[in-house]
């Protein structure tokens, strides 16, 4: 149940490391009980923003208000790096981090058992963390983050590196956690994940919020594009592009990379058809053609008014 009460409020947050500006006037609100998405390509400042939220970094200017009793006690953080000790077993990791929260041993044992069941690691308590699979490691990290019944759970690239099944399970798990009243913040570069989970989101590029709102709304702007990759021989792509000049308005963005022509278009099928039709005229032989959802970097470059 999403309240309209903001639990996190960022106002004009700026952060620099040396001469590099990591966060640039970031302002947003996270509603209590909701799932909030932070989307952006690598190096866009997502993790830094999350670290500012958990009070690991202080903003150079602006305010980050987290409306919980004590941030370090009431905010759980699952990082993309699996922050636990490989040399310890699953149980030992839970007991160690639980002790740092000041939890008593009896309570800790009970809570560990309950959490392992919740995250699907029941029966793996005595396993060394080093020997856990990628998915299981993410689950252990999640379990550690939930040890102290947090009000806010931050998930940094939770599903990165997981297979589709594990990813689905993880998303379901996050939804369950959210249903128990925990506000969830997800940072990811997977837009479909956000679409599936989030009530609200921001798009971050080069430390700046370039868009924010409901995923459905944002999807209209950014998810309509598809990426077409074509490789031909001898690869005179400018010649090909001149042959399809009549359809140029259907191409939002293009560039040549690794001797391949990469196009971004809202009408990909139509553009591919025209290119294939023009290949004979251009005396080009098709080597490879691929159509896919665009990489976020490309989308964000476009959103941020990047090169064309």
């Amino acid at each position: 149940m999403v309240d309209n009460i903001p639990i996190i409020t960022a106002k004009g947050v700026n952060k620099r490391f040396g001469n590099t500006r990591i966060l640039d006037d970031v302002s947003f609100q996270v509603r209590k009980g909701g799932i909030f998405g932070i989307v952006g390509p690598s190096g866009s400042g997502k993790t830094t923003l999350l670290k500012v939220i958990v009070d690991f970094y202080k903003p150079d200017s602006g305010h980050m208000n987290v409306d919980v009793k004590r941030v370090r006690d009431k905010v759980g953080f699952t990082t993309q790096n699996n922050c636990f000790y490989d040399a310890l077993t699953v149980n030992e990791n839970l007991i160690y981090f639980g002790s740092l929260y000041g939890m008593k041993k009896s309570l800790l044992k009970e809570r560990s058992k309950q959490l392992l069941t919740t995250v699907g690691l029941a029966g793996h308590g005595k396993k060394l963390a080093l020997k856990l699979s990628g998915g299981m490691s993410r689950r252990l990290d999640l379990a550690i983050s939930l040890l102290n019944n947090p009000d806010i759970l931050i998930l940094d690239e939770l599903t990165a590196g997981l297979d589709p099944i594990a990813r689905k399970q993880m998303i379901a798990l996050v939804r369950n956690i959210n249903n128990s009243g925990v506000t969830v913040l997800i940072s990811t570069h997977m837009l479909d994940e956000i679409e599936e989970l989030c009530d609200d989101m921001i798009l971050l590029s080069n430390g700046k919020i370039i868009a924010q709102g409901h995923p459905d709304t944002l999807k209209q702007d950014f998810m309509k594009y598809e990426q077409v990759i074509i490789q031909t021989y001898p690869g005179n792509y400018k010649n090909i592009l001149s042959h399809i000049a009549g359809f140029k308005h259907d191409i939002s963005h293009y560039h040549i990379e690794n001797n391949k022509l990469i196009l971004l278009s809202g009408k990909a099928s139509k553009v591919i058809h025209q290119i294939l039709y023009s290949l004979n005229g251009c005396k080009e032989k098709l080597i490879e053609i691929d159509i896919s959802k665009p990489d976020l970097n490309v989308v964000f470059e476009k959103a941020a008014g990047g090169k064309e």
Binding site: F56, V75, C83, I95, Y96, S99, L100
Partner: protein, 639 residues
Amino acid sequence: MTLQLFAIMRKNMLALMRSRLSSIVILLGPILLIVFLGLGVQTEFRHVEIGYHLTSNADVADLDAFLNVIKSENIGFEYTSYETSQQCISKVKKGDMHMCIIFAEIGQKTTIYIDVTQSNLAYAILNLISSKFEEKSKQVSTELVREVLNQFVIASSQMQNKSVYLSNIRSNVQDIPLKLEEIRNGLGKFSVDMDYNLKDYDDDFDDAYHELKDYREEIDEQYEINKDRLDEISDNITDSKRSLEDKKRQRDAYIDEIDDEWSRKRCYDREYEDLTPYLEDENLAAVGYSDPECSVLYTLRLQILANTKDIDDSIDMLESMQEMIVEVDGDMDTYRSRARGIISKVEGSLDEAYDTYESTSDVFVTLKKNLQNLTDAQMAALSELSSVSELLNQSMEWMSIVETSLDDISEDFQKMENYNSSALIDPFNTTIELEHYRANRLDYFFSSILVMIISFTCLLLSGLIVVREKQSRAFFRNSIMPLKDSSFLLGILITVVSIGFMQATLILLIAKHAFSLSGLDQMGVVLFISFMACVLFSVVGIVLGTILHSEESAILSGIILSLMLFVFSGIIIPLESMSEFVYSLSYLNPFVMIEIFLQRAMIYNITVFSADLVYVYVVEVVLFLIVGMILFKQAKKRI
């Protein structure tokens, strides 16, 4: 916080134990080291060349006895005798001999020259030789001590006798304060105040002189005034007399004229009568009388005479007055002379009195001065008496203490009669086994080995754990947990100190049972110092770990730092041979500091630590912890 510290320590222990190599190094490392040390280090010396020279006064019999003692031990010493001390010493200088002993007469200084290039060996040999010297000297001095003990017994009985005297003296002295008090009171009552002022007498004399002078002047003045008055009166009388005499002469002239008339008229023949009764009649002419002319002359003469009768009286009176004045004048002179004489006499008396006074005054001043001195002396005497009284009281207390002490000493002496004289010579009760053991070089440098093991273990381990923590993915999670940096570092410190202390305990136990090290009699103190060493080296390692970024660099830096501390500890090169600067800084070296503590406890059995060193130790631990904390915070920013 305790829960957190325990959790950190447990986690560190588990992580270390999970690594087989780490656990082997931690558990078996010290055991292997001590075993190898035991195998490698032998209790006997081989091929130790010792030269000796006997000075002319040396007792050959004693030297032979000494050499026989050493030779009987069969410890691989080879002896060579030299004719001159120079020959013997030069052999040492050339490295042909390990040691040269110049024997002097027993009781005199015996000089030992050592080859310092093999310091450890040299000191170990010196130790052994010293013990043999000790043994020989023990033999000699046992007899002496026995004699001394006898003397003590005699002294004891004499002291007991003296103690009685002391009691008597004390009782005598007890009365002295009372008597002193009496004297003091007496002196206090005796007043020598002399509040006279001689100047008053001077003034009196001056006044008297002035008065006399005034008298004299007054007398003179009065005399002159009276004289003037007398002269004036005399003049007046003379004038009056002259006037009266003129009157008298006039009268006489008149009378003569009357008489002449009388004669001429021959009135002596005529009838005449005294007309005096008729002088009052207004009509004298109507009075009938016989011869008026002669009667008139007669009556005139009578009247003149009658009226001038006073002139004569007056002249007589004036003359008598003149006589009286002359007489008065004479009397005045007489009186003045007498008065002057009296004044002169008074003056003379006064002069005499003044002379007497003057002579008395000197005596008086001297007397007054003496009296003042006497007063001062009285005050000083009173003060001195108080001090003496206090001193006497104190002395009495001391005498009581001395008396008690004498009794105690006497008792001690009596106890000493039962003492073993050899126990007196050797308070550590050195046995022949112990001496044999003291020759073991392990005993000498065991403390250094212990410090070395602790330094390497703690320094490397703490540095490694900190670096590993920093590299660990869990470091970020630890940083966002409700866990203070100080607690985190303290957790690491406790872990490392526990491991280091466990190793040290293990080594000490093995050493105690396997090698019977004499220095481990103070096991508790040695363990405590080992704990201190673990703490100090661990905090140094923590600082190292916070600075470095990789395990390799932590290991290498730990080894290099440990070696540096070791090299500058004086074990290889004596500190005394280093530069003044290095020498002065050497006591800041944790290695040196801990080794001093251990050597004092193990070799010299001193369990009280030097306050300066303890202070340096505490300052270093606190300083390294603070630096470690600051650097750790910096390291967190780099996540």
